[in-house]
């Protein structure tokens, strides 16, 4: 084999090595095509000296993405050219050049080159001592995506030849394909991401829509500028009686009476100006279904710059509640009026009913005193009956008055010493009937948080009953104490007197209910009803245990039972 033959074989081997090296780079490349191009440029510059430059096109510009120059002053020439972007028409190539295929000049003829390159590019080649030039387009699918330059400097090396051209062109084609694929891949990836983001956004937005739509209060949004409606939910449509299609884009003035619209808008402006929540606890609104009352809260919605962009409002319909409150307060007024009427009635009862009773009693007495000698024993007994009747009626009136006072008097809770009260009451009874022998047991330290007057009336009634119903017992015993019921103190008065049949215990606390004949135990039948009312006024209750002929225990509480 002659020298030329050996040289050719060597050349082909070098070319094959280059292609295989670069092929490995292709294999390792996924999306980072700039590194691939840099590797290609580096290997080409080494295999086919001196310089290799790769430029990529983006619309009307070219960006220099890789440059390698192995000539002695190559580093200086490369400089910071990488990433420099220049307009396509200034790149030094007239656009038609590349459309025709590679520009191959093993020996540069600068005059001929003027047809293909700009003067500036020619000057640059001259300055770099260029002797050979190969410019290959990077194209795929008929689209120019970049340019690859190979520059031979000086004359020490043989000129570029067809083998160089073929190798470079082949590499350029592969590189173009790799760039194109990589770009497509990236694009695909990005569009995939976009679609995912889009899906998520759609999902989030439809959830928000569903929430807003289904909130059972009116939700509306107005733009901050004109205060025109941009959104209204279903509850809002139902409340106002206007569909969103009719409402969107309109302002309050298009929909409501002027004075109402002015109020709404003033509150909107206040909300936007303050930048905070504004609450309107009651505002009237004219709807197609008539006047309604709303409890509305308004807040501004800000844009990225912190400027109010929208006004969000939520309105709760309080018409029914307002009506109920109105009815309640009317009922309260009526009840108070009725109470005042009752009070004046009670006063009349106290005064007017007692007066004739005094006359009946007084003149009966006068009659028996002044004319007693003209009446026989039967006549005098009748007069006594008349007086007893009058006095009994006076008691009834007094007891009824107490009952009514218990109901209407203001309840003032205080610390009440029930032990001391019981001692006082029983002491007074004992003084009235000093001959009676009654064993009295009063638990020490019974205190209640109660109205003193009412508690005293209750205890007076119960102790009075115990005293009365033990009157026929020789070993009478009366006990006052406290126990617990439903977690609260239950005060009790226990006696071993006449007792009662538990079958009638429900009747005990009714007005005018008596379980014993009056001839046996006098009384009006109002006392226990009074005790029950006193307990109720304290949110407490009354109950009783007993056995006919053996005694009774009456309980009362003066506070709400624990749940």
């Amino acid at each position: 084999m002659d020298d030329d033959g050996r040289l050719l074989v060597q050349r082909l081997r070098d070319g094959l090595r280059l292609v295989s090296t670069v092929a490995q780079a292709f294999a390792e490349t996924t999306s980072d095509y700039r590194r691939l191009l840099d590797t290609i440029a580096q290997h080409i510059a080494q295999a086919i000296p001196d310089a290799c430059i790769v430029m990529l096109r983006s619309d009307d510009t070219l960006t220099l993405v890789a440059i390698h120059d192995i000539s002695p002053d190559g580093d200086a020439r490369v400089g910071d050219l990488v990433n420099r972007t220049i307009p396509l028409r200034e790149a030094g190539l007239s656009s038609s050049v590349l459309a025709r295929g590679p520009l191959f000049m093993p020996r540069i003829d600068f005059d001929a080159l003027q047809r293909s390159l700009t003067p500036a590019a020619i000057d640059q080649l001259k300055a770099g001592g260029a002797t050979g030039l190969l410019v290959v387009p990077l194209a795929t699918r008929g689209e120019l995506i970049g340019v690859l330059w190979v520059v031979r400097r000086g004359t020490q090396r043989p000129p570029l030849d067809e083998i160089d051209l073929e190798i470079v062109q082949d590499l350029a084609n592969h590189a173009a394909l790799a760039v194109s694929n990589s770009r497509l891949f990236t694009q695909l990836e990005r569009s995939e991401q976009l679609r995912t983001l889009e899906d998520r956004a759609v999902q989030a937005s439809s959830l928000l829509d569903a929430i807003v739509e289904n909130i059972p209060d009116m939700v509306f949004v107005k733009d901050a500028d004109k205060l025109a409606f941009v959104r209204l939910n279903r509850a809002g449509e139902q409340l106002i009686g206007v569909s969103r299609a009719e409402l969107i884009g309109k302002t309050d003035f298009d929909l409501f009476p002027t004075s109402e619209a002015e109020f709404f808008v003033a509150k909107d402006r206040e909300t936007l100006a303050s930048g905070a929540l504004v609450e309107i606890t009651e505002e009237p609104i004219h709807t197609t279904g008539g006047m309604r009352w709303l409890h509305t809260k308004k807040v501004p919605l800000f844009d990225h710059a912190g400027k109010p962009q929208y006004l969000l409002g939520i309105s709760h319909d309080v018409t029914d509640r307002k009506q109920v409150i109105g009815e309640l307060s009317a009922a309260k007024l009526a009840a108070e009026a009725a109470n005042r009427e009752l009070e004046s009635f009670s006063y009349s009862v106290a005064h007017d009913l007692r007066t004739p009773l005094r006359a009946i009693d007084g003149f009966s007495q006068a009659l028996s005193e002044d004319y007693g000698d003209r009446l026989d024993a039967e006549g005098l007994r009748y007069l006594t009956r008349v007086r007893e009747g009058a006095q009994r009626m006076a008691e009834l009136i007094d007891d009824l008055l107490t009952l009514s006072r218990v109901t209407r008097s203001e309840l003032r809770r205080d610390r009440v010493d029930l032990t001391a009260l019981a001692h006082t009451l029983l002491g007074a009874l004992q003084r009235l009937e000093p001959d009676r022998q009654v064993e009295i047991v009063i638990a020490p330290g019974i205190v209640a948080d109660a109205d003193l007057q009412l508690a005293a009336i209750a205890l007076d009634n119960l102790i009075g009953n115990a005293w009365k119903f033990t009157s026929k017992r020789s070993n009478a015993r009366i006990e006052v104490g406290v126990t617990a019921a439903s977690g609260v103190p239950a005060y009790f008065v226990r006696d071993n007197g006449a007792g009662f049949d538990m079958a009638y215990r429900d009747k005990l606390f009714g007005v005018f209910q008596r379980l014993h004949p009056e001839s046996d135990y006098p009384g009006t039948g109002i006392g226990l009803a009074t005790v029950a009312r006193i307990a109720h006024r304290h949110r407490g209750r009354t109950w009783a245990d007993g056995k006919l002929g053996e005694g009774a225990t009456f309980y009362f509480t003066l506070t709400e039972p624990h749940a």
Binding site: A350, H351, R354, G362, Q391
Partner: protein, 145 residues
């Protein structure tokens, strides 16, 4: 020689008669002047109208004043008595059917000296009048007029 009288302001004839009877039974010798309504009461005390020519020698030792009276009620009579220099020191006992707390409170606030509720039982009534008379006519020293 001034005459010390008991003044009873009472519109109810029965009550007036029973009160007089109670006084009689208690053996008080003082004359009882009965006045039928608030207007007459004020005429009497200020010696005007129907009582313009009453004797200035008559001095009320104690006034028993009902609250519920025609024309001018008892509380207004009491207010007028206490507002006038000539009558402000006369002992006034409110004698009424009412046991209302507010009647009692207002009576004392206006300067009543006592408040007595008329009992229905005549014996109790006599006892109440006897004690009243005993206190105001015998025991108590009235302010010099």
């Amino acid at each position: 020689m001034p005459e010390r009288v008991i003044v009873l302001v009472e519109d109810n004839e029965n009550d007036a008669e029973l009160t007089l009877r109670a006084f009689r039974k208690s053996k008080f010798v003082n004359r009882v002047v009965v006045l039928r309504d608030g207007v007459e009461a004020l005429d009497y005390f200020f010696t005007r109208g129907t009582h313009a020519d009453r004797s200035p020698e008559e001095i009320a030792q104690v006034v028993l004043l009902d609250l519920k009276l025609p024309k001018i009620d008892g509380l207004d009579v009491l207010r007028a008595l206490r507002a006038d220099e000539r009558t402000r020191l006369i002992p006034v006992v409110v004698l009424t059917s009412s046991a209302e707390d507010q009647d009692m409170a207002r009576s004392y606030a206006l300067g009543a000296n006592s408040y007595v509720r008329k009992p229905v039982d005549f014996n109790h009534f006599v006892e109440a009048v006897r004690q009243l008379g005993l206190y105001w006519l015998v025991i108590n020293q009235t302010a010099p007029v």
